[in-house]
Amino acid sequence: MTEYLVPRAEGDVQYVQLLTPEGYRVEHPDYAFDGGEDEAGTIRGFYRDMVLTRRIDTESTALQRHGELGIWAQLLGQEAAQIGSGRALRPQDYVFPTYREHGVAYCRGLDPLRLLGLFRGVDQGAWDPHVNNFANYTIVIGAQTLHATGYAMGVQRDGAVGTGDADRDTAVVAYFGDGASSQGDVNESFIFAASYNAPVVFFCQNNQWAISEPIERQSRIPLYQRARGFGFPGVRVDGNDVLAVHAVTQAALQYAREGNGPTLVEAYTYRMGAHTTTDDPTRYRLTDEVEYWKLRDPIARVKVYLTRNGLADHDFFEDVEREAEELGARLRDGCRALPDPSPLSIFDQVYAEQTPELEAQRDEFAAYLDSFEGAH
C-alpha cells in the first residue's frame, strides 16, 4: 500500500546551502548571502536573534509545564528558517503566520508576551496586525495563505509593486507547513497568486512532520517542485542555514516587489520538539532521526563559523547569553502578570456595531453575576 512513498534518503535532498552544518561557507551558483557592509555584524545579529528566539521557545515550554500556559507550539530547530526569512523583510512587507512563527514575530518586533497571551488563554492573539505588519496567528491550517494572497492583490491595486522605490514596493509572505500544503486553501492560494501575479512569497517550513504524519503522506515530490505546476518558481533551501534562508527569501521578496509574482520557498528543516506540549512524538518517530537532525542544529553552525573565523569573541557569546537570561526572566514574570479578561468582555468586540440583542444578553449576564455578590 505504501511502496510508492518516496524514501526519506539523505542523498535525495538537494537544496541551496551557504553554510554547512560544520560551519563552513560554501558557494552557490544562484544565491549569495548579502550581509551588508558589516557582514560579520549581520551574522552575529542572526546568531543573537536565533538564541533569543530559542529562549522564547524554551521558556514558554517551561511555562506550559508549570501550568502558566494552556499549550505551547514549539519551534525548536526552526530558528534559522524563521530568522533568515524574517530578517529579509522590509518594514512595509507584510507577514501572514501560522501558530509557530515565534521567530518571525520577534523579527517583526512583536512583544513575545503577546504570543503568550494567546497560549495562556487570556486572549486569542489579539494584536493589531497593522502595527508590525504581522497578521494574527492562524490555527485553521492553511487559511492564512489565501489572506496573504488577497493582501498582496491589494498591494498591487495600491500600486505598491514594481515602482523601483525600495521604500514603497511591498511583498507579502505566507508562512505554512508541509502538512498545510495538502489543504485546498493553500492550493487555491497558489492559483490566485499565479493568476494575478500577486507579490506573495509562499514560505513553507517543511519540518518533516504534521503532528504524527510524515511529509511522505502529503507529497510524492519535493514540495518546492509543486510550484512548477502552478506556473511560478519554487526553490528549496536548507532551512537550518540562516544565511541561505536569508539569501533565498530576500531574492524571492525582491522578485515579488518588482512585480514578477509569487515564489514558493521550501525551507527544509526539522521540528526538533513535539508538535505542541500536548504531543508525544515518541509514539510515531525514531530518536535516530532526531539525533541526525541535532547534528544540523541551526544555531551551532553559526557559532562554530563565528568562532573559527574570529568574528565573535567570548564576551559576545556571554552577552547574548545574559540577554537571553534577561528575556527569560521577563517572560516568566510577564506571563504570570498577564491579567485575566473580565467575564463581561466576552460580549465586547463581536461586532463593529454592537447589536441590541447582544447588549441585552450582556446586561442579563451582568445582573446574573451581581446576584452572587454577597451570596458567598
Binding site: S182, R217, D340, I346, V350, L358, F372
Partner: protein, 325 residues
C-alpha cells in the same frame, strides 16, 4: 463487566465494528500510528492495517470527499475530524454532497458513513478547539446527528451509528473522554440509537441536554434535591431526528422545562426543542421553556471559558426562574 472511560469505550466500539464488518474503514488526520490526538483509534491501525485505518493527508474536504467515493464503492467510512473547529473545510462536502446524495439519487446511493467530531469546551484550549457546531448539522436534512454523554452509550452508539445506513454526525464530548469510568457490559442490549433517555425522574421540572451537559444536569438535579426540589433529567442522545416522546411525557408531568447546551443559544437545539414542547404541551406548561446556553459570541479565550459555559449555577438559576412563573 469492565470499567472504562468514554475514550476507551469508543475505542472498543470502533474495534468491534471493524471486526464485525470488513467494510468499515477509519480515516482522518493522525488516526493511524498516533491513534488520534485523543487516542480514540489507539491500536486499530496496528491490528487492522493501513488499508482500513487510514492516516489521511491534512485536508478535511479531502477526507469527507473521498469518503463519499468509498461509500459509493460499498465501504463504511468512519471519518474523524480532529477538533470541532476544523470541520468547516469539509462542510461543503458534508452539507452539499453527503447529506443530499440519497435524496438526489432517489435512494440509489446510500451514504453509510459516520463523521466523528470531538466537540465542546472546558479543556483550556486555544480557539477552534472548543466549539459546538451541532445545530449546523441538525439543520441539514439528510444528516442524522447524535451525541453520547457517557462511556456505555459511547460504546453502543458508535457501533449503531456505523451500522446505520444514513450519514451520522457523531458528536463526542471531548471533556468527558477521560473524565469518568463506567461499568460496561458488552453482553447487554442497548436502546435504539435514535432514542432519548430519562436518566433521573422528578416532578417539579424537566432538564434536557446531551453530550457534555448531561453531567452538569445530573449534578444540578442532585443539588436541587438537597433543597427539596425534584428535577427530571433527560439525555436527548439524538439531535436529528429528535426523540421527543419521552420529553413530552415528562413535561406533561412536570409542566416546566429547561434545555441546556454549550452551543450558542440563538437558533441552537434549545430553540427547536422549546418550540416543539410549546406546540405539543401548551396546556401542560406552567412556564415558558427556558434555554441555558453558550452566549451568542465566539467561544472566548480559555481563561474565561468557565464563564461562558453553562454550569450548575446557571442551570439552577433557570430552574428558579421557571419555578417563579
Amino acid at each position: 463487566m469492565t470499567k472504562v472511560t468514554l475514550a476507551k469505550a469508543l475505542n472498543m466500539g470502533l474495534r468491534k465494528a471493524m471486526e464485525t464488518d470488513p467494510k468499515v474503514l477509519i480515516m482522518g488526520e493522525d488516526v493511524g500510528k498516533l491513534g488520534g490526538v485523543f487516542r480514540i483509534t489507539d491500536g486499530l491501525q496496528k491490528d487492522f492495517g493501513e488499508d482500513r485505518v487510514i492516516d489521511s493527508p491534512l485536508a478535511e474536504s479531502g477526507i469527507l470527499g473521498t469518503a463519499v467515493g468509498l461509500a459509493m464503492r460499498g465501504f463504511r467510512p468512519v471519518c474523524e475530524i480532529q477538533f470541532d473547529g476544523f470541520v468547516y473545510p469539509a462542510y461543503d462536502q458534508i452539507v452539499s454532497q453527503v447529506a443530499k446524495l440519497h435524496f438526489r439519487t432517489q435512494g440509489a446511493i446510500k451514504m453509510p458513513m459516520v463523521i466523528r467530531i470531538p466537540f465542546g469546551g472546558g479543556i483550556g484550549a486555544v480557539e477552534h478547539h472548543s466549539e459546538s457546531p451541532e445545530a449546523q448539522f441538525a439543520h441539514t436534512p439528510g444528516l442524522k446527528v447524535v451525541s453520547c454523554s457517557n462511556p456505555v452509550d459511547g460504546y453502543w452508539m458508535i457501533q449503531q451509528a456505523i451500522a446505520h445506513d444514513d450519514p451520522v454526525v457523531f458528536l463526542e464530548p471531548k471533556r468527558q473522554y477521560h473524565a469518568d469510568k463506567a461499568d460496561l457490559d458488552e453482553e447487554a442490549t442497548p436502546p435504539p440509537l435514535f432514542s432519548s433517555k430519562v436518566l433521573r425522574t422528578g416532578s417539579d421540572a424537566t432538564l434536557l441536554g446531551y453530550g457534555p451537559m448531561v453531567k452538569t444536569l445530573m449534578k444540578a438535579a442532585e443539588a436541587a434535591a438537597g433543597e427539596g426540589r425534584s428535577l427530571e433529567v433527560i439525555d436527548l442522545r439524538t439531535l436529528s431526528p429528535l426523540d421527543m416522546g419521552p420529553v413530552f411525557e415528562s413535561v406533561r408531568k412536570t409542566g416546566r422545562a429547561v434545555v441546556a447546551h454549550e452551543a450558542h443559544t440563538n437558533l441552537g437545539m434549545g430553540a427547536e426543542i422549546a418550540a416543539r414542547i410549546t406546540e405539543q404541551c401548551f396546556y401542560s406548561l406552567q412556564a415558558p421553556v427556558l434555554r441555558v446556553g453558550g452566549f451568542d459570541t465566539p467561544y472566548p479565550p480559555a481563561r474565561i471559558e468557565e464563564e461562558y459555559l453553562p454550569d450548575l449555577d446557571r442551570v439552577l438559576d433557570a430552574v428558579d426562574r421557571t419555578m417563579g412563573f
